[in-house]
Structures are given as structure tokens and as C-alpha cells.
């Protein structure tokens, strides 16, 4: 994995409305190579819609959603450019973890042997041939992450990847993400867990009511707020105290 001149992820003036109202309005940010960007915001802030526009799953009303300076639909072999973890990975409970990853490998057009590699990476080799129905939430997250990594992408988009992970799993995930970015990869990480974001993000974008209300290096925030990301977040989102 090497750093390139292209911008891995760029959202430019993205807007999207539904009949119920505007979901996202004029959202812009970039994720650079070697950086982890934490996308923060309360439920309904527009994080998921933004991510789905970047991935070509939702058509924006206006603006550009670019991956390596191209729309997702123009990527030649998208899974080899960008790995994603959404909706707990779309795991079918009737399959085994290995079967899910074999399907992911076939979709990514990589050899089936790569499945064993990613199972080892996420420490799921022992449970690979068990039914997903019997997996804990944390095990499902690991398999979903393995599917995102199966084609060795340079970019990762992770939506709430820490859900269901125990402390050891969260520690492992933070290390994995950090190592990925340190090797030149770009990571867009959507999370509600501020403490996790604080430990691994380089930059943060805070969304509130469909708009970007902060786009800044995390170090600057921590410097200005005396190391308190939570206070910064609560002030921006007008959230009541008690929100993580």
C-alpha cells in the first residue's frame, strides 16, 4: 500500500432529499491517504446517507461523491480499491463465515485462498465453518471486516465497526485500523463511540441535521478543548449530556 496523489475519498457539496425532508445538505470533506477520518453525529444526522452516496448506493440530488477522483460506478474493480463494512456486512445467518467470505472473494475476483488469509487476519479461523446464526455480534463484525479486506483495498469505509466488540476486540480493531492507515491506506470511520474515534482518528467531521458542522484535525480539537472530544461534540450537536 503506497500513498498516491489522488484523493481517496472526496465528498463535494453533496445533497440528498427524501419526501420526508432533506437528509443531507451541502456536505463536503475529504479523506486523505494515511489518515483516519472519524465521521461523527447523532442518529439521523446524515452519516449513513453520506456514506451510501459515496459508495454509489444512493444517488445524490447534487454534488459529487468521488473515490480516487472518480464516481464509485467508474471504478474498474471497486472492491480492490475500497473495502466497506455496512449494516453488519449483510451476513446471511444460514451460511458459515467461510462461505460468506468465499462469496466476497468471488465478487472481488480474488483467489479463494485469500479467504484463509483474511480469516487469520481477523482471528476467525477456528469459527470459520460454523453457522453465522451462532455468531456473536463481535464475531459477525470480524467476518464483515474480513470481507472488506478480502481484496486488499487501499481505502476502508467502516460504519460502526466496533458494535458488539468486547474490549479486547475493540483494542484489536483500533490497532488494525491504525496499521492500515499507517501503511498508506485511507479510512472513513463512522462511529458513535467518541472514545474509540479519539484514539484512532486523525481528522473528524461532525454532522448535525444533515450538515457538516465541523471538519478539522482531531489534534486541533483536543488542543483547544483540553483533550475533551465529548464536550466539543455535545456543543456542536446540541445533544443532552449523557451522550457518549
Amino acid at each position: 500500500m503506497t500513498k498516491t496523489d489522488t484523493v481517496p475519498i472526496r465528498a463535494r457539496h453533496l445533497s440528498k432529499s427524501y419526501p420526508s425532508g432533506a437528509a443531507v445538505t451541502d456536505v463536503s470533506f475529504t479523506v486523505a491517504s494515511g489518515r483516519v477520518l472519524g465521521l461523527l453525529g447523532p442518529n439521523g444526522a446524515g452519516k449513513t446517507t453520506t456514506i451510501r452516496m459515496l459508495l454509489g448506493l444512493v444517488a445524490p440530488d447534487s454534488g459529487d461523491a468521488l473515490i480516487t477522483d472518480r464516481p464509485y460506478s467508474a471504478l474498474g474493480r471497486p472492491l480492490q480499491t475500497i473495502g466497506t463494512m455496512l449494516d453488519a456486512g449483510g451476513l446471511h445467518p444460514g451460511r458459515t463465515g467461510r462461505q460468506h467470505l468465499l462469496i466476497a472473494a468471488a465478487q472481488a475476483k480474488v483467489p479463494a485462498g485469500r479467504v484463509d488469509d483474511v480469516l487469520t487476519e481477523v482471528d476467525m479461523t477456528q469459527a470459520a465453518d460454523r453457522s453465522i446464526a451462532g455468531y456473536s455480534l463481535g464475531m459477525r463484525q470480524r467476518v464483515a471486516l474480513a470481507a472488506a479486506l478480502v481484496a486488499s483495498p487501499n481505502i476502508l469505509v467502516l460504519d460502526e465497526p466496533a458494535n458488539g466488540l468486547d474490549p479486547a476486540g475493540m483494542h484489536w480493531l483500533r490497532q488494525r485500523i491504525r496499521a492500515f492507515a499507517d501503511a498508506g491506506g485511507a479510512v472513513l470511520l463512522s462511529s458513535h463511540v467518541l472514545s474509540d474515534v479519539q484514539q484512532i482518528a486523525d481528522d473528524i467531521v461532525v454532522m448535525q441535521a444533515g450538515r457538516v458542522v465541523a471538519d478539522t484535525p482531531l489534534a486541533d480539537v483536543l488542543h483547544e478543548q483540553g483533550g475533551d472530544l465529548e464536550r466539543f461534540y455535545l456543543e456542536l450537536t446540541n445533544a443532552p449530556s449523557g451522550v457518549r
Binding site: 454509489g56 449483510g90 444460514g94 462461505q99 468465499l102 462469496i103 465478487q107
Partner: protein
């Protein structure tokens, strides 16, 4: 994409259950329609009084038309006026192939792997068509074996040319693959398993009702009634009587499949997921 879609079908139990139920139902249907009833009607089995044998609804396996009717992989009684379990299993397999990705979120990974959604649909249609061919082959083996076994048991010579048998079975594979793909398209349009199954069964049952009423009113089957899905399928298989020429029936069934896929493609391209 085709390989991953085939893996999706082969790694879940629903298609296998549909296949097993369809094959089991077909075996029972064939045993009853092709073996038991003709044997009872001919007096070779059981102790049915001679005066009652004529009342038993059975195929005349001595004639080539009777043997041909017994050869249908959709079930000997599925050719006209009824909805066999084999047909239900086939369309359910297609519907489930179309809806399971929506139910468990797999459609997102498909679109991420292949942003061109029409290509995703074509891969799904290809995989589902292959599943339909395998299903058709299994059903063809069941119907052929039942017919030949019954003829041997009753001591009746085979009255159908082997080439005709091969043609019927080949067309059956085509018809079953088309039905499965139509089920897939309905599943994609409906997204919900329950809605997809209800729509498909509703359409098939409605066809039977419409055909029955039409026959009562006009005393025959007008051309439009022969263009309905079940009637078309049976005409393509060619084990019953139909006024619709075979090439026209094949073209109409393929056209129906293409139209269903086109509607599904339009829906897939327009939807946010």
C-alpha cells in the same frame, strides 16, 4: 458475478428445500397419476369393481398421447387445470433467489462489487437459470423414470419416439429455467419474501381461475388465454394439447421472461439501497 451468485444459491438452504419439496411432491404426483390410477383403472391393481373403473380419472398409457402427458416434469396432473407442487417449488425458488439478498443485506455487497446493476441482475438471472436447469433435470428424471417404470410394470410398450422424449425434456428444461427467472424478477420487484411468494402464487392461481371461467363461457381457450404463464409453459413442454404453435409459445415464454427481467432491471436501477 455469476460465480458469486451461484455460491449464494448453493450455500443457503431455501433453494434446497424448494428443490426437495418439489421433487418429493412430483414423485407422489407421478406415482398417483401415472402409476396408481392407471393400474386401478386397468384392474391390474386393487379390487375396484369393473363398473367403477371407467370413473377413475386416469391417463391412457397405451396411447402415445397418454404417455406424453405422463412425461411432463411439472407433473402429469399439472398440465391443465391444476397447479402442481413442482410448479410452486420452481417459482418459489426463483422468488427466494430474488428476495433473500434484500432480506439479509447481500444486495449491498453485490452492488458494491458491481456498480452496474443490470450486470448484477444478469448474473442473478444466469445463476437462477442454472438452478432452474438443475431443478428441471431432476424433475425430468423423476417423471421419465416413473413413466418407464409404470409401463414396464403394466407390460405396456413405450409408444413415444425417443427423439420426441428428448425434445420434450429439453423444452422442459427451458420452460422451467424461464419460470424460475420470472420468479426471480418478481422477487426483486417485491423485495419482501412474503409479498413475492403471494404475488407469484396469486398470479398462477388467478390464471387457473381465468382459464376455467373462459372455458365455461366461450367453450374453448382463446389465444390470449394460451399466452398466460402456466399455459405457455405447458405448451412449450408440449405434453398436452394447444392451438398455439410451438415456436410462438417458445418465443412468448422467452418474451415474458425478458419483460419480467426488464421490469426488475428498471426497479434495480432506480432504487436507493
Amino acid at each position: 458475478m455469476l460465480r458469486s451468485e451461484l455460491l449464494k444459491i448453493t450455500t443457503t438452504t431455501a433453494p434446497k428445500i424448494a428443490l426437495g419439496v418439489g421433487a418429493g411432491g412430483l414423485i407422489l404426483t407421478q406415482l398417483m397419476s401415472v402409476s396408481v390410477l392407471p393400474a386401478l383403472a386397468s384392474g391390474r391393481m386393487g379390487a375396484v369393481p369393473a363398473e367403477l373403473r371407467d370413473a377413475i380419472p386416469s391417463l391412457d398409457l397405451v396411447t402415445s398421447s397418454g404417455q406424453l402427458a405422463a412425461l411432463s416434469p411439472l407433473g402429469a396432473s399439472g398440465g391443465s387445470g391444476s397447479l402442481g407442487i413442482a410448479v410452486i417449488a420452481i417459482v418459489l425458488m426463483g422468488v427466494l433467489a430474488g428476495t433473500s439478498d434484500y432480506r439479509f443485506g447481500g444486495i449491498v455487497s453485490s452492488f458494491l462489487a458491481q456498480p452496474n446493476r443490470v450486470r448484477v441482475l444478469l448474473a442473478k438471472a444466469g445463476a437462477t437459470g442454472v438452478a432452474g436447469l438443475v431443478t428441471g433435470a431432476l424433475f425430468a428424471v423423476v417423471s421419465t423414470a416413473t413413466l418407464l417404470g409404470t409401463l414396464w410394470f403394466l407390460g405396456i410398450p413405450v409408444a413415444i419416439d425417443p427423439i420426441v422424449i428428448a425434445a420434450v425434456l429439453s423444452r422442459s428444461l427451458l420452460a422451467i429455467a424461464c419460470l424460475t427467472i420470472v420468479g426471480l424478477a418478481v422477487g426483486i420487484l417485491a423485495r419482501s419474501q412474503l409479498a413475492g411468494v403471494l404475488i407469484m402464487l396469486g398470479v398462477l392461481l388467478l390464471e387457473l381461475v381465468v382459464q376455467s371461467i373462459t372455458q365455461l363461457i366461450v367453450g374453448g381457450m382463446p389465444v390470449w388465454a394460451q399466452l398466460l404463464p402456466l399455459a405457455l409453459t405447458n405448451t412449450v413442454i408440449g405434453t398436452g394439447e394447444s392451438e398455439l404453435p410451438l415456436p410462438a409459445a417458445v418465443a412468448a415464454l422467452l418474451g415474458l421472461t425478458v419483460v419480467a427481467l426488464a421490469l426488475a432491471a428498471t426497479a434495480l436501477r432506480r432504487r436507493d439501497v
